[in-house]
């Protein structure tokens, strides 16, 4: 596929000079788009960090940042300034060049994945997307996986055993969770008969959000993406209480800030992906477009609401982000063997079950699929209830022992 083939049909309102190939097949519009996207991500990440600290604060009986700006809104810019002015230390034992390179190798893949996300409609623009790439589903699995290289380099070049242990954990985790994620995406691809993210969103708007048709796939995707981001409860690679920050232990200043940026950008990315893949992209509520088709009188309202697709997209993305943050502030951390068990023994078989169900839907239609899905969900419910009763047994582990005491006579009378 040549680079020209990758270029999309530009919207009609774009003048020629904006979309003419300028440099290596990229047009001016591409560069402007990249610039805007990069800056948008940087600002969004700052907002996200503030949000996380606020959400975390309120969960933890605190108030979060409060003093820098109204409700601490300027806390993140202040932190960025602090990181920029901090000394950029390179440990003596480090492999200098690779040590300095690693943060970029971690951030760039995350940033590149943003290119294929369809942000939804913004006014006259039908679908805001930098590259509506036909193989987007393959792309968004392949590119973030390149993060592993950066993490290995970061851990190895630090010359620190904790960092090495952390990066080994990171890579093991990343590779293990790639598989269930791919299988979950396969379900989506089968349902939408396409590997294009834009098409996936369109199919959802034509039928029903995949979160309802693929609930198992959605859960797998959510868990696997949280594991890939190494967020609590899957943060074994960072594990403050065991390996003290893992691969990032030796980093300081803005280099550490890059890892931090990559982590939060990945949270944003995965939430945005989950919205595109399972929650109908820019559609405001499930079946909204159908309402327009069924009730012609409501069509103008439907169209008006659809023009603000980006808003709905971000609303849903933020909801998911808050959910991920909620998990972070509530759950303890899994151990590495339990983490691997979850990936290989639970998520992967569940992913295949989901894939089979999707195939049933495509081949035999909705009714057999619904029956199969119902049975699968019953199975999941049964397993959950079994776990619940196991928990009750665990709680009864301790007992209260009453030791009778003979009260001495002189005390009893006093």
């Amino acid at each position: 596929m040549s680079s020209d083939a990758l270029l999309i049909e530009a919207p009609s309102w774009m003048p020629d000079w904006l979309i003419a190939p300028l440099f290596g097949g990229f047009s001016l519009a591409d560069f402007v788009g990249l610039f805007v996207l990069l800056n948008f991500i940087l600002f969004f990440v700052m907002f996200e960090i503030w949000l996380e600290r606020k959400v975390g604060g309120h969960i933890q009986l605190r108030r979060g940042p409060l003093h820098v700006g109204p409700h601490g809104a300027l806390q993140s810019p202040a932190d960025v300034l602090k990181l920029l002015t901090k000394e950029d230390l390179t440990p003596a034992a480090a492999d200098k060049k690779t040590f300095r390179m690693a943060p970029y190798l971690v951030f760039v893949p995350v940033f590149l994945t943003f290119l294929v996300i369809p942000w939804g409609a913004l006014g006259p623009i039908q679908n805001l997307v930098l590259r509506p790439f036909d193989l987007a589903l393959v792309y968004l699995v392949a590119i973030p996986a390149a993060q592993a290289i950066g993490l290995v380099i970061a851990g190895w070049s630090s010359g620190n055993k904790y960092a090495l242990l952390g990066s080994a954990r990171f890579v093991a985790q990343l590779i293990s969770y790639e598989l269930p994620m791919v299988v979950a995406l396969l379900g989506v691809a089968v349902m939408s008969q396409s590997l294009s993210l834009t098409r996936v969103v369109e199919v959802q708007r034509e039928s029903l959000w995949f979160i309802f048709l693929q609930p198992i796939g959605f859960l797998i995707f959510l868990i696997a993406s949280m594991a890939e981001m190494s967020r609590t409860p899957f943060d074994i690679a960072i594990a403050e209480s065991e390996i003290v920050g893992g691969p990032f232990i030796e980093y300081s200043g803005m280099r550490w800030g890059m890892f931090f940026l990559a982590e939060f950008a990945a949270v944003f990315l995965n939430a945005a992906l989950a919205v595109s893949l399972f929650m109908g992209g820019g559609e405001v509520i499930p079946l909204w477009d159908q309402i327009g088709r069924w009730v012609p009188a409501a069509a103008p309202v439907v169209d008006l609401v659809n023009q603000g697709g980006v808003l709905w997209f971000f609303g849903k993305t933020l909801t998911l982000i808050v959910f991920i943050q909620w998990c972070r502030f509530t759950l303890p951390r899994l151990r590495i063997d339990q983490l691997m068990d979850l990936a290989w023994k639970v998520l992967l078989p569940a992913g295949f079950l989901n894939l089979i169900l999707s195939a049933i839907y495509i081949t035999f239609g909705f009714i057999p699929f619904a029956v199969g899905l119902g049975l699968s969900l019953l199975l999941v419910l049964f397993i959950a209830l079994a776990y619940r009763s196991r928990r009750r047994v665990a709680r009864s582990g301790i007992q209260l022992v009453t030791i009778p005491q003979s009260v001495p006579a002189e005390v009893a009378t006093s």
């Binding site: 951390r333 030791i403 009260v407």
Partner: protein, 393 residues
């Protein structure tokens, strides 16, 4: 660094024997990592050197002494008010379980000097000691949650601790190191609104205990992380001389407050939580139950709190007759003891010796962590609930 674990050698736990490693004759190296003294989850300045095969701990060697300040020797060094000054150093050893420890020291001194304590002072001592135990278990809860990777328990625990410290401040004038108990009674009487304040704090603490439980106790991840981890059998626990929740988790209902009642503990109605398996999870459950039992004791003591003097027949200048005395109590971590020797002449004790439960309980660490994962080693250490100030003294 060579690590010698003695007879319990590494081959009891099979080293890595992946077929691929053997087939290709790959070189596998045991990694030695140094945990501490600067490490977030070594609870102070504890240090252990772990030999790892992959993620498994093959051998562990603990190092202590980074916080040794010679608290016992300093206790013997006072000139004028030596017997009263020693307790200041005692406060700084176990900085979480301060109230019970002060109580213990005063009882040892009173035994030595033949001082009697008025009823009101005894009740207030029990109330404050039990609140001190709650405070210490709060800290355990927070730190254990953090060891398990959850950040919120720490904040929940500190909300209650803040409440308790505010109360302690109102009573003794200081938050952490009250130095409030005196031989023969208390330094001064409690504030007028003491009873209401404590009852309010007790209610808050009951609610907080429920919140603590709701957050962690039935969490599936927490369960799978802590159950069956760091197991010590009852026989082994006795062999090692463990005490406190670590011992009671193995199923032995040994609590000094019951088996050798001191002060006025025989007047209160409370139970002893014991476990069956002796793992991290049961140690956690026992501490949470003990918080509730302590609060029950506080409520009973508040109900019966008599009026009257708070100071007994203690002489101004302490010069106990020649002899020695030993007093043991159940503090938040286990069997704490104070041994005092008087030469009958000087104003300071001739010898001060503290029997610190953490120091003894820490012996069990090696058995808990060898063969476990690194993550479990952190939890096992957390479940012993050490305070380094007390281990090193």
């Amino acid at each position: 660094m060579a690590i010698d674990v003695g007879e319990r050698s590494i081959d009891a736990f099979a080293p890595v024997s992946a077929p691929a490693v053997e087939e290709h004759n790959l070189d596998t190296v045991e990694m030695t990592i140094n945990m501490g003294p600067q490490h977030p989850s070594t609870h102070g300045v504890f240090r252990m050197v772990l030999a790892l095969a992959g993620e498994r701990v093959q051998a562990a060697e603990p190092f202590i002494g980074y916080l040794h300040r010679g608290a016992e020797k300093l206790g013997e060094a006072g000139d004028v008010e030596g017997y009263r000054k020693a307790v200041i150093w005692l406060d700084r050893t176990d900085y979480l379980s301060v109230w019970p420890n002060e109580h213990c020291y005063m009882m040892a001194l009173e035994k030595l000097a033949g001082i009697t304590v008025p009823e009101r002072a005894e009740y207030l001592r029990v109330i404050l000691s039990e609140l001190g135990r709650v405070n210490s278990h709060c800290m355990f809860y927070g730190a254990f949650g953090a060891d398990a990777g959850a950040t919120t328990p720490f904040m929940y625990a500190f909300a209650l601790r803040e409440e308790l410290y505010t109360l302690f401040e109102a009573v003794g004038g200081a938050r952490m190191f009250p130095n409030y108990f005196r031989p023969g009674g208390l330094r001064e009487d409690v504030p007028a609104d003491f009873v209401e304040r404590v009852s309010k704090t007790v209610d808050t603490a009951y609610r907080a205990c429920d919140e603590f439980e709701a957050l962690l106790t039935t969490n599936e991840i927490f369960l799978s992380r802590t159950r069956g981890i760091g197991v010590i059998s009852a026989e082994r626990a006795i062999d090692l001389g463990l005490s406190g929740p670590v011992l009671r988790a193995t199923g032995i209902p040994l609590d000094i407050r019951k088996v050798e009642p001191y002060s006025i503990y025989d007047r209160f109605d409370f139970d002893i939580p014991v476990g069956t398996r002796g793992d991290c999870y049961e140690r956690y459950l026992i501490r949470l139950q003990e918080m509730r039992q302590s609060l029950m004791i506080v409520q009973q003591a508040l109900r019966d709190l008599p009026g009257g003097p708070i100071m007994g027949n203690a002489p101004k200048a302490m010069r106990p007759p020649k002899g020695d005395s030993y007093q043991r109590i159940e503090n938040a971590r286990g069997d704490f003891g104070v041994y005092l020797v008087s030469d009958g002449r000087s104003a300071a004790p001739y010898r001060v010796k503290y029997r610190s439960p953490c120091f003894v309980n820490l012996q069990a660490l090696n058995e808990m962590v060898v063969g476990a994962y690194v993550a479990d080693a952190v939890l096992a250490l957390g479940s012993i609930d050490i305070v380094l100030g007390e281990v090193d003294r």
